[in-house]
C-alpha cells in the first residue's frame, strides 16, 4: 500500500510537469498551428536563470519572475525569427528544423556558460518532505499539480472571458477570417509564444529545487510534454493536463511493477498504441471541414 501511495505521489509530481509543458504546446498550437521545439529549453531557462540571478544576489521571487519574463521574451523572439518566416505556406514544416536547431544552440551555449553540472535551487519547500507512512513528497512538488490546475483554469478564463483571449481563439479557428475582422493574427501568435515561453519557464522554476537546475534538465521532459500534448489531442487544455498527470503515474507504476530500465520503452509503446486507437488524441475532436 505504501508503495502504491508513493507511486501516486511521485507520478502526480512528474505528471504535473508534463502537463504544464503540454499546456505550453497547446497555447502555441492554438494560435499558430505550429510549436516551438525549443520548449524544453524554455523549461530549462526557468530553473537555470533563477539560479544565476540568485547568485547575483536577487531574492528568489524576483529572480524567478525575471527568469520567466526572459523566457517569455525568448519565446516571442523565437516565434518572430524562427517560426513565422518558415510557416507562411500551408503545410510548411521549416519551423520544425529551425526551432530544433535553436534549441540545440540554446542548450550548448548554456552548457558553455553555466557549466555542465547541476546546481541547487534552494527553497524552504524542499527541506523536509511530508510523510504518509513510508511514503513522502516534498511540499514543493505539491505546488506542481496546484499550478497545473490553476494555469488551466486561468487559460480557460483568458480564452473565454477576455478580448485578447477571444482574439486568440478566433485566430486558432480561422486565421484568415480573424484577419478580415481586424485581428492582427501575427501579433496574437507572437503573444501566444511568449505566454508559452513563460509557462515553460514557470514549470522549470517549480521543479528545479527538486531535480537541480542544469543545462540538460529540459531535454527529455520537453519531449515527453510534447508527446503528452499529442496524445491528449493538442487543442484541449484540460485534456493535456489530465493526460500529463496520468502519464506520470503510469510511468511510476511501470517502474514499480514492471521495469525501471524499460520505463520509457514501455511508456512510449503505450502512447503509440493510444495514438493508433485515438488518432485525434484522447480528448481531441475530429476536424470537420465544409466544402
Amino acid at each position: 500500500m505504501e508503495a502504491i501511495v508513493q507511486y501516486l505521489l511521485s507520478g502526480l509530481s512528474a505528471g504535473s510537469v508534463y502537463g504544464l509543458i503540454a499546456l505550453g504546446f497547446y497555447v502555441m498550437w492554438s494560435a499558430a498551428k505550429a510549436v516551438n521545439f525549443t520548449y524544453g529549453e524554455m523549461f530549462m531557462l526557468g530553473g537555470v536563470l533563477t539560479v544565476v540571478l540568485m547568485e547575483f544576489g536577487l531574492p528568489l521571487p524576483v529572480a524567478a519572475l525575471a527568469a520567466i519574463a526572459a523566457a517569455a521574451l525568448a519565446g516571442a523572439v523565437i516565434e518572430r525569427a524562427f517560426v513565422r518566416p518558415f510557416n507562411r505556406e500551408a503545410n510548411a514544416i521549416g519551423w520544425m528544423l529551425t526551432t530544433i536547431a535553436v534549441g540545440i544552440m540554446i542548450e550548448s551555449s548554456t552548457t558553455a556558460t553555466y557549466g555542465p553540472l547541476g546546481r541547487p535551487l534552494p527553497t524552504p519547500l524542499v527541506e523536509q518532505p511530508l510523510r504518509i507512512g513510508g511514503s513522502g513528497i516534498y511540499p514543493q512538488e505539491l505546488l506542481l499539480p496546484v499550478a497545473a490546475v490553476a494555469v488551466t483554469a486561468a487559460l480557460e478564463f483568458f480564452y473565454r472571458r477576455t478580448v485578447l483571449g477571444r482574439a486568440m481563439r478566433a485566430v486558432s479557428f480561422n486565421r484568415v477570417a480573424a484577419g478580415l475582422v481586424g485581428i492582427d493574427a501575427d501579433r496574437i501568435t507572437l503573444l501566444a509564444f511568449a505566454i508559452a515561453g513563460g509557462l515553460g519557464a514557470f514549470a522549470g522554476f517549480l521543479i528545479a529545487p527538486v531535480i537541480q537546475a542544469s543545462s540538460t534538465m529540459g531535454v527529455i521532459v520537453g519531449l515527453k510534454g510534447f508527446m503528452v500534448a499529442i496524445i491528449a489531442g493538442i487543442a484541449n487544455a484540460r485534456g493535456v493536463v489530465v493526460v500529463g498527470i496520468l502519464y506520470g503515474v503510469v510511468e511510476k507504476l511501470i517502474e514499480g511493477y514492471l521495469s525501471t530500465a524499460a520505463r520509457d520503452a514501455i511508456g512510449f509503446t503505450l502512447m503509440i498504441l493510444l495514438l493508433l486507437l485515438f488518432p485525434q488524441g484522447l480528448f481531441g475532436r475530429p476536424e470537420v471541414r465544409k466544402v
Binding site: 507511486y7 511521485s10 552548457t111 553540472l117 513510508g134 511514503s135 513522502g136 540538460t216 531535454v219
Partner: protein
C-alpha cells in the same frame, strides 16, 4: 609497339620512385624518430563534460610550471599541446593522429571517458605513441583482450580493482548483511555489475538486489522501495553527481537511509546539490583536496588557486581524484623522459618501468611493470575512502563516519 611503350613507361616510373623508395628505406621508424618535448592531450574541454577536462588541465599545467621552473627535462621545457575531443571517441582518435604524427609529441595524455581511451588502442599501437590515462577507469583500457598492451599506461583507478574495494567496505559497514548494487544504465554502470558480483562471491556474501536507473532520472522511489522491502541496509552505488543527488532525495521522501558506498563518479558537486542529504555518503577515490592536506599537496593546491582564478576553494575542483592523478602522472612522465635520456618514444616507454616517484596520491615504486595488468600505477592499496561531511568530501578518517559497523 604498345608493349614497348608500356615497358618504357614502367622503367620511367621505377626510376622516378627509386629516390623515394631509398629515402623510405633509410628513414628510421616513427618511434625511433626524435620526438618533441611535448605532452599531447585529448581532453573533454567543451560540452557537457568540460568540467572533467578542466579538472585535468589545472593539474597538468601546474605540474609543468613546477617542472619547467626546475629546469625542465633534458635541458628543455616540457610543453602541453591540448586538444578538445568533447567526449567523442572519433575526435579523440583524430587528436591522437595529430599528436603522434604532426606534433610528434613524446607522449599523449588521456581524458575522462573510457570509450575514448578504448578507441585509441589501435592508433596508438600503430603510431607507437605512449599514452597515459588519468581518469578513464575501464579495465579494458589497460587490459587489452589480446594481452598485448605495450603503449597504454594509466595513473588512475581500475574498475576491476574498484569493485572489491567497495565490497570490502560495504561488508565492513552492513549490519543486516544485506548489500545491494544500484547502477546507472551506461557502459560504466553495467560494466560494474559482473565485477561487483565476483567481488561479492569472493567474500561469500549474496548480492541481495540489483537496481538500475537511467541517466537523467529524477525519482528513484520504485527502486528504493524494493530495496527497503528486501531489508537492504548498504548500497554500492555507481552514479554521478546529478543522479546520486536524485537518489538521496528519493531516500529522503521515503525516510529510508541506508549506507551508501559510491564509486568515484560522485564528486564534490554532490555536496552542493544534495546539501545536508550528502552527509555520511561514502565514496571511493584516490585523493581529496579538502580537509587536512600534507604540506606538499597544500602547496600544489595553493599554486593551482593562484594560477586559475576560477578555483577559489577546493570545492571548485570538480574531480579531485582526477586532478591529483593528473598531477602525479605529469611528474611520472617527466621522470621517465629523464631516465630515457633522449626524446624517443620507445626509450620513454621502457623508462616508465624504471620510474620510482613519491607523488601526492601514492608512492610509485616502480610506477609500472612490463605486464599489462601493471600498466596501472595506482594499486588497490592506494585507494581511499572519503565521506561527505558538513558539505565537504573528506578522507573518512577526518569525519565521524570512520568507524565501520563491526
Amino acid at each position: 609497339m604498345q608493349h614497348r611503350r608500356f615497358v618504357a613507361g614502367g622503367r620511367r616510373l621505377l626510376l622516378g620512385l627509386l629516390p623515394a623508395a631509398t629515402l623510405l628505406a633509410i628513414a628510421p621508424p616513427v618511434s625511433a624518430q626524435r620526438a618533441q618535448p611535448c605532452i599531447g592531450a585529448s581532453w573533454e574541454l567543451t560540452g557537457p563534460l568540460a568540467h572533467t577536462g578542466f579538472s585535468i588541465r589545472i593539474a597538468v599545467e601546474t605540474a609543468l610550471e613546477e617542472i619547467n621552473a626546475a629546469g625542465g627535462v633534458l635541458g628543455q621545457p616540457l610543453r602541453l599541446v591540448a586538444y578538445d575531443d568533447a567526449g567523442e571517441p572519433a575526435r579523440a582518435v583524430d587528436n591522437a593522429r595529430r599528436i603522434g604524427e604532426r606534433d610528434n609529441c613524446i607522449v599523449m595524455m588521456g581524458g575522462f571517458r573510457t570509450p575514448n581511451a578504448i578507441a585509441l588502442r589501435d592508433p596508438l599501437a600503430e603510431m607507437e605513441l605512449p599514452w597515459v590515462g588519468v581518469i578513464s577507469a575501464g579495465t579494458a583500457v589497460i587490459e587489452h583482450p589480446n594481452n598485448a598492451n605495450k603503449w597504454m599506461f594509466r595513473v588512475s583507478m581500475k574498475d576491476r580493482w574498484v569493485a572489491p574495494f567497495l565490497v570490502e567496505h560495504a561488508k565492513a559497514r552492513t549490519k543486516s548483511g544485506k548489500i545491494a548494487l544500484v547502477y546507472e544504465g551506461t557502459a560504466w554502470g553495467q560494466g560494474a555489475v559482473p565485477d561487483v558480483e565476483r567481488a561479492m562471491a569472493a567474500i561469500n556474501m549474496p548480492l541481495v538486489a540489483k537496481e538500475t536507473f537511467n541517466i537523467g532520472d529524477q525519482d528513484m522511489s520504485a527502486q528504493l522501495i524494493r530495496l527497503r522491502d528486501a531489508g537492504v541496509d548498504t548500497i554500492i552505488l555507481y552514479a554521478v553527481d546529478r543522479e546520486a543527488t536524485n537518489l538521496v532525495r528519493s531516500m529522503d521522501r521515503l525516510g529510508y537511509r541506508p549506507t551508501i558506498i559510491a564509486a568515484w563518479g560522485v564528486g564534490v558537486q554532490f555536496a552542493r546539490t544534495a546539501g545536508p542529504l550528502a552527509e555520511g555518503v561514502l565514496v571511493a577515490g584516490t585523493f581529496s583536496w579538502m580537509g587536512d592536506l600534507p604540506p606538499r599537496a597544500a602547496g600544489v593546491l595553493q599554486r593551482m588557486m593562484q594560477k586559475f582564478p576560477q578555483i577559489t576553494s577546493p570545492a571548485d575542483i570538480p574531480l579531485p581524484s582526477g586532478t591529483a592523478n593528473a598531477y602525479d602522472a605529469t611528474y611520472i612522465i617527466a621522470e621517465a623522459i629523464k631516465l630515457a635520456g633522449r626524446f624517443d618514444r620507445d626509450a620513454f616507454r621502457q623508462a616508465l618501468y624504471r620510474v620510482n616517484y613519491d607523488g601526492i596520491v601514492a608512492s610509485y615504486r616502480p610506477a609500472f611493470e612490463p605486464r599489462q595488468e601493471r600498466h596501472d600505477a595506482i594499486l588497490p592499496q592506494h585507494y581511499k575512502l572519503f565521506a561527505f561531511h558538513n558539505g565537504a568530501m573528506l578522507p573518512v578518517e577526518q569525519t565521524p563516519f570512520r568507524q565501520a559497523a563491526r
